[in-house]
Symmetry: C2
DNA sequence: CCCATCGGTTCATTATTTGACACGACGGTG
DNA sequence: CACCGTCGTGTCAAATAATGAACCGATGGG
């Protein structure tokens, strides 16, 4: 692994729940040497990717990221492009909908539409990465990405999130295969308790799956009728989102269904 | 210069006017070896910081940046905090106002308020870095940052933007000193033709200057009355913005004025 | 058909990174 | 006070990764 990757990886430890991280904590998180991490942190800081609190000495994400995000959004308005589609699906279903894109062996949220109704709703954090093996989005991604992605996930240690998290490689292979046949995936509380989620892949202009469109709802609300509605919305929405990215569904995508 | 800095530096070449960059172009821009750049680009891409168009092979900023920007804004809502203040100043003055933060030897825009009136207005790009020696913001920054920043700027080659750009180190020193005395800086067409700009520093909770509040307007509109109004707005606004960041003005800041 | 340009790849050399250890400073705690 | 953990530095030999020149295949002109 190159030096650049190691340094950039440090940035991935920041999340909404952990916006500030100290040197010792990084050592625990990464297992790397203190001096190494420190040098990386300094270099990231001097480039504006990190900032440091003078009192607590804790590090946090820096302003350089905002500038880059600005350029990215102005020139590749992906979020703007998907937002109306995701919002619309969320409105009709009355559930949380999100679009995430593959980043290494995780999915990174790109946009999500919250719902504003009374009662329970799923909490979703756009700053948190989604694991491939435990989420509906992940299954949908694995099912339509090149096969070596699945192998990569299986070869790594598989983290357990709930009682329903798939831990066995073979079970995972079967779930992925089933997802490929159905064109959408289902996750019943495999990532978070009480949360049911369904997802479908989205494709770029080369017909490569690069992310997912997903719906997440409290398990108690996931009746058969609701599920059917979600599937319909996903199948239509998946195509819409792909188009919004300038992409299109693979030719055999519709026929693959069993 | 470390490997990490070199790689991150590649990201800085992206801007709204140049959202896609190819390998050869990077070679021209950086002067580095092609293979080196290529490896850096690959590593940045595999971490989601860059994406590549399969047809044109050009690189663009990746989605990982969006996620990090999201975390940053959710946890350190700097833009949200500053926005109302900047908007308000812009409204009362009827001119473009922006807040930028120091990043290395440049200023990186954090937020700006456009004006929506007929006639001329200054174009401002939040994705573009501002040089320290040629802008009002830069002078204000230099005047209140540690002295070695000025030395660093002077020791580097000084780029000429217009006929009025300060190129001579001593002239720059004098301008900085004057700015320190006045508490605000003026730039008459030293960065862009026909643009007059004025700025004041903003301070964090350690009373360290970390950025600037600035107003930019067409030179023709910069009458004496207008300038007086801008100075008043900057002096009040500088304190407001500093407070919004949880900071405050240095104790001797008001007394320094001559 | 030749030449230039571009993205991508290879490989031996070189320079950098790495991690272990050590030291000083700081802040909190018993 | 002594003790503890943490951050920030240094040093240094060994390991590793970065480097740049050369090379390849594809593409597009003239």
């Amino acid at each position: 692994m190159g030096t650049i990757t190691k340094a950039l990886n440090l940035l991935n430890y920041f999340s909404v729940t952990q916006p500030e991280i100290g040197l010792s904590e990084f050592r625990k998180l990464t297992g790397q040497d203190k001096a190494t991490i420190y040098r990386h942190l300094c270099e990231l800081e001097s480039n504006g990717f990190l900032g440091q609190d003078r009192q607590t000495r804790l590090y946090h994400l820096g302003p350089a990221i905002l500038r880059l995000a600005n350029v990215r959004e102005k020139t590749f308005p992906a979020r703007d492009a998907v937002a109306p589609i995701v919002d619309s699906i969320s409105d009709t279903l009355g559930e949380l909908v999100h679009v995430s894109v593959l980043q290494g062996t995780c999915l990174s949220p790109l946009y999500h539409a919250d719902i504003h109704i009374r009662g329970t709703r799923v909490y979703f954090d756009e700053g948190e990465m989604l694991p491939l093996h435990a989420t509906a989005s992940g299954l949908a991604m694995l099912a339509f990405a090149p096969a070596d992605l699945l192998e990569e996930v299986i070869s790594a240690p598989i983290q357990k999130f709930t009682e329903s998290t798939i831990l066995d490689p073979n079970t995972l292979r079967i779930a992925v295969k089933k997802t490929r046949q159905r064109r959408f995936s289902i996750s019943d509380e495999s990532f978070e308790r009480e949360v049911c989620s369904m997802a479908t892949p989205i494709f770029d202009k080369d017909q490569c799956a690069f992310g997912t469109l997903a719906v997440a709802l409290p398990a108690g609300r996931a009746t058969d009728e609701k599920r059917a509605a979600i599937v319909a919305a996903l199948i239509k929405g998946g195509e819409d989102v792909s188009k919004a990215f300038g992409g299109s569904l693979p030719a055999n995508f519709n026929e693959e269904r069993v």
